[in-house]
């Protein structure tokens, strides 16, 4: 609430300086974008550290401990190291493609945050097609992975890129269908309105039996696949493809992929929170705290998955999506539609 207020105050201040409306918009949105960028950079750094800590504690290790309290500075130090590293481009690489791939990944990962409501009124732009926009933007990630795979001119990278394309395309479908069932109920594509439609805890879509939990699980599975994490981390399956699409990347370009991956994971969790867990809604605490808590809880679940499960094989991955998730999500959509139509459980 307070942060949104500050932003509004800035906007009004700018408007009162006599600049034209276009300039006011440009400046204020740039500031908003920068704030979101900075926030996400911090979040990504935190998530990297957190993941390392969680994995370490699951495995009864310490994880990073040296830099700062329990190694909280570790990712920053890593970042500094990666910046200093030599940026290697393979001699036979397709240079422009190779060069642009991490940037596309980076930008696509950040663009999604335009329509994610971090709190009540805390949103860069409440598009009326919000969720559609996010789905469209996050899908950009595949293009970057394909570009990386192709541009590296490496067989492992190519295999990784191809895998990721196939994987993301196949998991997009059940994911969208799961989201659609929520949209059907909310009656809007706008993220803010979706959140507002679940004001009470029993209105959260995850609790709307029977379709809610199923849609949530489908979303979670597909989201794990979308963000290329175990058990669906085939594009970069270390034991098969060494590092998959980013096998040839080093230095800052690698860091950009790395960042994009963690930002994507946060995106998946944030969308999950918005759609199923009531977004920023919650008692006592400020709205953005609730949002962060829920999102981080989902992120934790994703990490927990990663450090517990083995990896699927590529054909099994496809089979799982097309033969299992897709029919289930269709059925779920039908149930949701029927529920909406019959006003059954329509609280």
């Amino acid at each position: 609430m307070e942060i949104a207020g500050i932003f509004k105050y800035l906007y009004e201040k700018l408007a009162s300086t006599g600049l034209s409306q276009a300039w006011v918009d440009i400046i204020s949105y740039s500031v908003a974008a920068l704030i979101v960028f900075g926030f996400l950079a911090v979040v990504a750094l935190f998530l990297v550290w957190w993941e390392r800590k969680i994995s370490a504690h699951i495995q009864q290790r310490f994880g990073p401990m040296r830099t700062g309290w329990h190694g909280w500075l570790q990712t920053i130090v890593d970042m500094l190291k990666l910046i200093q590293k030599e940026d290697i481009t393979p001699a036979t690489a397709d240079r422009p493609v190779f060069y642009w791939a991490p940037i596309v990944a980076f930008v696509a990962a950040f663009m999604a945050y335009v329509t994610i409501p971090f709190g009540a009124g805390l949103i860069v732009s409440d598009l009326n097609i919000g969720i559609l926009y996010i789905i469209a933007i996050t899908t950009f990630t595949i293009i970057s992975l394909l570009m990386a795979g192709w541009g590296s001119n490496n067989k492992y990278a190519l295999l990784g890129g191809m895998r990721s394309a196939a994987q993301v395309v196949s998991y997009e479908v059940p994911m969208v269908l799961a989201i659609l069932s929520v949209v059907l109920f909310a009656g809007s594509l706008s993220m803010v309105q979706i959140v507002e439609s679940q004001a009470k805890i029993y209105q959260w879509y995850i609790f709307r039996l029977p379709f809610g939990p199923i849609a949530f699980i489908i979303y979670l599975i597909a989201g794990t696949a979308e963000s290329n994490r175990t058990p669906f981390d085939l594009p970069e399956a270390e034991q098969e493809l060494v590092a998959g699409f980013n096998v040839e990347y080093s230095g800052m370009k690698f860091a950009m992929f790395f960042f994009a991956e963690f930002v994507n994971m946060f995106t998946i969790a944030a969308i999950g929170t918005t759609l199923f867990l009531g977004g920023w809604q919650g008692p006592w605490l400020p709205s953005w705290v609730w949002f962060m808590l829920k999102t981080l809880a989902l992120v934790f679940v994703l990490m927990w998955f990663r450090w517990t499960f083995p990896r699927l094989r590529v054909d099994q991955l496809m089979e799982f999506s097309w033969k299992f998730l897709l029919p289930v999500s269709f059925a779920n959509l039908i149930i949701a539609g029927w529920m909406k139509y019959s006003k059954w459980f329509n609280w």
């Binding site: 994995s55 699951i58 495995q59 009864q60 290790r61 067989k155 492992y156 295999l159 895998r163 175990t230 058990p231 981390d233 399956a237 270390e238 034991q239 098969e240 493809l241 060494v242 450090w307 517990t308 499960f309 083995p310 990896r311 699927l312 094989r313 590529v314 054909d315 099994q316």
Partner: protein, 369 residues
């Protein structure tokens, strides 16, 4: 109809430095997309000429070399060599020494299987089991270090006995380990055995038929998983293995999952043997005194033991007038298991190749020597 969809096969060099080749092994894969059409293993990247080195060392000096033959189960390498030499020279180790050997061998088998468990799960994408496996392995290595002073290259089992008696704190610590290890194995099993992802990754992958296994000389858990109930500890007993009760787990299909189950069960059985050996452990001498100039008489022997990776055989030929062996040939289980791999990975995915390689428990130094 349009023209048929045309694909092109391409070559992928998997290795020598690849995360899942367990050492440095190179597979030249002919791939049709994700499908392996042909896999040709290339070995020799870890070739250290151990056999030649042994020919240039005295029998005692061979033992540290043997430690490096197959470093996951150094004890059994040493033991195989000592057994061969003892057979050659007609020496019998004291009973206490034999019991200590059995304890060490079985503990080392568990340690080796734990490495296998860890690396296999790692190869199939699960990272956490890897560290759980290594956690318990550390306990075993602590026991070894306490006894012989090293964690990996023990140089403990000697010709005619063992180098040192166990320290007093060994037995309580071993008992503690025996106490807790079954629970840990349960934990391992909880993580993987029934996990649906694990099952689909391993079931019916890399099926090794009985005939193929025997023809290619595949031995050990891989052979048993194919349904051949053959364990040298029971079928060609060496040391004191005929005094212990243990089961020989076998599989039915011979796929990766069977190999997994067989090895998991073997850990439990090994622990059973350790327990029995500890109960029966007699007091007494730990070493047969060897003549100062130890020269085995002229002769040759091929002696084999059951290693965690299969039949470990040492062929020694002695000229009779030298302190150095004329010829030492080491035969490890991995050698034949790697050899059979091209046959069973054909037509599978590249991920299956990784799964098969992991489940065969191939360790490259044993192949290359």
């Amino acid at each position: 109809m349009s023209a048929p969809f045309r694909t092109e096969e391409f070559l992928v060099n998997m290795g020598p430095h690849h995360p899942s080749t367990h050492g440095v092994c190179r597979f030249l894969l002919t791939m049709d997309g994700e499908v392996v059409v042909k896999a040709v293993p290339y070995i020799g990247y870890l070739h250290r000429a151990l056999e030649r080195i042994c020919e240039n060392r005295t029998y005692h000096q061979c033992l540290p070399v043997l430690d490096r033959f197959e470093y996951c189960t150094s004890m059994s390498c040493e033991y195989a060599f000592c057994l061969a030499t003892e057979k050659l020279a007609g020496i019998q180790a004291p009973e206490r020494a034999e019991y200590l050997r059995v304890i060490m061998l079985e503990l080392n088998r568990i340690a080796s299987h734990l490495i296998w468990y860890g690396t296999t799960s790692l190869d199939l994408g699960a990272v956490t089991p890897f560290l759980y496996g290594f956690r318990e392995r550390e306990d075993i290595l602590d026991l070894f270090e306490m006894t012989c002073g090293q964690r990996l290259t023990y140089n403990y089992i000697r010709i005619g006995g063992v180098s040192r008696d166990i320290p007093p704190e060994f037995i309580p610590k071993l008992k503690e380990f025996i106490e807790k290890f079954p629970r840990k194995v349960d934990d391992y099993e909880k993580l993987l055995t029934e996990n649906p992802i694990w099952i689909v990754r391993n079931k019916n992958v890399g099926i090794l038929s009985k005939e193929l296994a025997l023809g290619y000389g595949v031995s050990g858990p891989a052979l048993r998983a194919s349904g051949v109930k053959f364990d040298l500890r029971r079928d060609d007993p060496y040391s004191l293995y005929d005094r212990f009760e243990f089961d020989i787990p076998t599989g039915t299909v011979g796929d990766c999952y069977d190999r997994y189950l067989v090895r998991m069960e073997e850990m439990r059985q090994s622990l059973r043997i350790v327990k029995q050996a500890l109960e029966q452990l007699p007091a007494g001498d730990i070493k047969t005194k060897l003549p100062p100039n130890f020269k085995p008489p002229k002769g040759e022997v091929y002696s084999r033991i059951e290693n965690s990776r299969g039949e470990m055989g040492i062929y020694i030929q002695s000229a009779g007038d030298s302190k150095k062996p004329l010829r030492v040939k080491m035969r490890g289980g991995s050698y034949n298991q790697l050899q059979v791999m091209p046959e069973i990975v054909k037509g599978g995915k590249i991920a299956d190749l990784v799964a098969v390689m992991a489940s065969m428990d191939i360790i490259m130094p044993e192949v290359d020597r």
